[in-house]
């Protein structure tokens, strides 16, 4: 067991006893990754905030549900965030697959982006974010965890509850989709 994982467990034990400082430590440690994951998955800050809140409220109410034998605390929290996101997405339009609407979508993007000769940084980031959000959820998760959060394949596989090979193939597919889309809008190259 790594030091970080052991420290997380100790903090969680303290949190279960009602130690506010332990909760604050864990919150500071994981709020960023969870919020960013939720933001990239959902595409809007309000949903990301709600998801982050839900994740930590569950941690407060049921700290003993975390099983160290199944993975790290980070994986556990990402798992909660994924479940909450799925619930949110099933009730909204967020889970829009790229493959089903690729042609018309690319065309729309191209027409829109042809009007812009040069994108500044902020616009480019917005376009990139919008493109990521439009990836199918399975590929989007892999891309966010591996490319944005810089997790290793084993870590991402633990979060996504799938083999490392599956993570690699989803990531490859996600990058290809994203590249195609960005080439179409001339954001990259």
């Amino acid at each position: 067991m790594t030091d970080a994982a052991g420290d997380d467990q100790e903090m969680l034990r303290q949190l279960a006893k009602g130690n506010q400082a332990a909760f604050n430590t864990l919150y500071e440690r994981y709020k960023g990754p969870i919020f960013r994951f939720a933001w990239h998955m959902s595409g809007n800050e309000t949903t990301a905030e709600e998801v982050t809140q839900e994740v930590f409220v569950r941690l407060i109410h049921q700290p003993k549900k975390f099983d160290p034998a199944k993975g790290t605390l980070g994986s556990y929290l990402y798992g909660i965030a994924r479940n909450v996101m799925r619930r949110e997405m099933s009730a909204s339009f967020l889970d829009v697959g790229l493959e089903d609407e690729q042609c018309s979508d690319d065309l729309a993007f191209s027409m829109e982006m042809d009007l812009l000769s040069e994108l500044d940084r902020q616009e480019r980031l917005e376009l990139l974010h919008r493109s990521v959000v439009r990836l199918p959820a399975l590929y989007r998760e892999a891309l966010i965890l591996c490319d944005l959060e810089e997790m290793s394949y084993p870590e991402a596989a633990a979060v996504l509850s799938c083999p490392e090979g599956t993570v690699a193939s989803r990531l490859h597919r996600a990058r290809a989709m994203l590249k195609t889309r960005l080439q179409a809008v001339r954001c990259v190259q």
């Binding site: 909760f23 919020f35 933001w39 905030e49 809140q53 959060e149 990259v188």
Partner: protein, 213 residues
């Protein structure tokens, strides 16, 4: 290496760095939720501990030896026995009854014959020797067994009660609630009456099983 991949990776890293910050109020909301949850949890735990302590106290009280409780174990007349623990009963021989006579419901009690009988009882027995009734025992409750009367209230402690020995007619005994056989109504019966502080008779036992005159 593929330059397009490099460019994409760079763009994604840039995107990761440009992600918005977590709102500060979320942290304070969660902190107050944490505090609220643990206050509620402590209260719940205190309630459980208090409940367990109450259950334990009640169990200990009921599991104590009977003599410590100074309580009366009451069995209804149909069960035909009652055990009374008293502080220090005063025994007064042949005192006339001074008890009120509440409305009573009599039940058919059978009194057990007692082997150790007094002289007066033996005399009474000899008087009745020729009658068919003398062949069968009239009472089936042994001396020492109290029968609770309808006036007895288990909620009232009987520690300060006193015991009065009276020689009373069977009809009077029936009036205070003791189940008396119809053949004994006009006879006199030597009886121990447990009288409470309020003067009410709580329990009765026959001194002898065949002490009728």
């Amino acid at each position: 290496m593929n330059p397009q991949k490099d460019t994409l990776s760079e763009a994604l890293r840039e995107l990761a760095g440009a992600s918005p910050e977590v709102p500060a109020e979320l942290g304070s909301r969660l902190s107050s939720e944490f505090a609220r949850h643990h206050v509620w949890r402590k209260r719940k735990r205190a309630g459980v501990v208090l409940g367990l302590a109450a259950c334990l106290a009640i169990s200990v009280y009921w599991l104590r030896p009977r003599s410590e409780r100074t309580a009366v174990k009451v069995v209804t007349p149909s069960a035909q026995s009652a055990q009374v623990a008293t502080g220090s009963p005063q025994v007064v021989a042949s005192e006339s009854p001074k008890v009120s006579a509440p409305s009573l419901a009599s039940a058919g009690a059978k009194l057990k014959a007692r082997p150790n009988r007094s002289r007066s009882v033996r005399a009474a027995e000899s008087k009745q020797a020729g009658t068919p009734d003398a062949e069968q025992p009239l009472a089936t409750i042994a001396t020492g067994d109290f029968v609770a009367l309808p006036t007895f209230d288990p909620a009232i402690p009987v520690g300060e009660s006193r015991m009065v020995r009276v020689d009373m007619p069977g009809s009077a005994l029936q009036l205070i609630g003791y189940p008396v056989d119809g053949r004994l109504l006009d006879r006199r019966i030597l009886t121990d009456v447990l009288v409470g502080q309020d003067g009410m008779p709580y329990a009765v036992r026959l001194v002898n099983t065949r002490n009728t005159r």
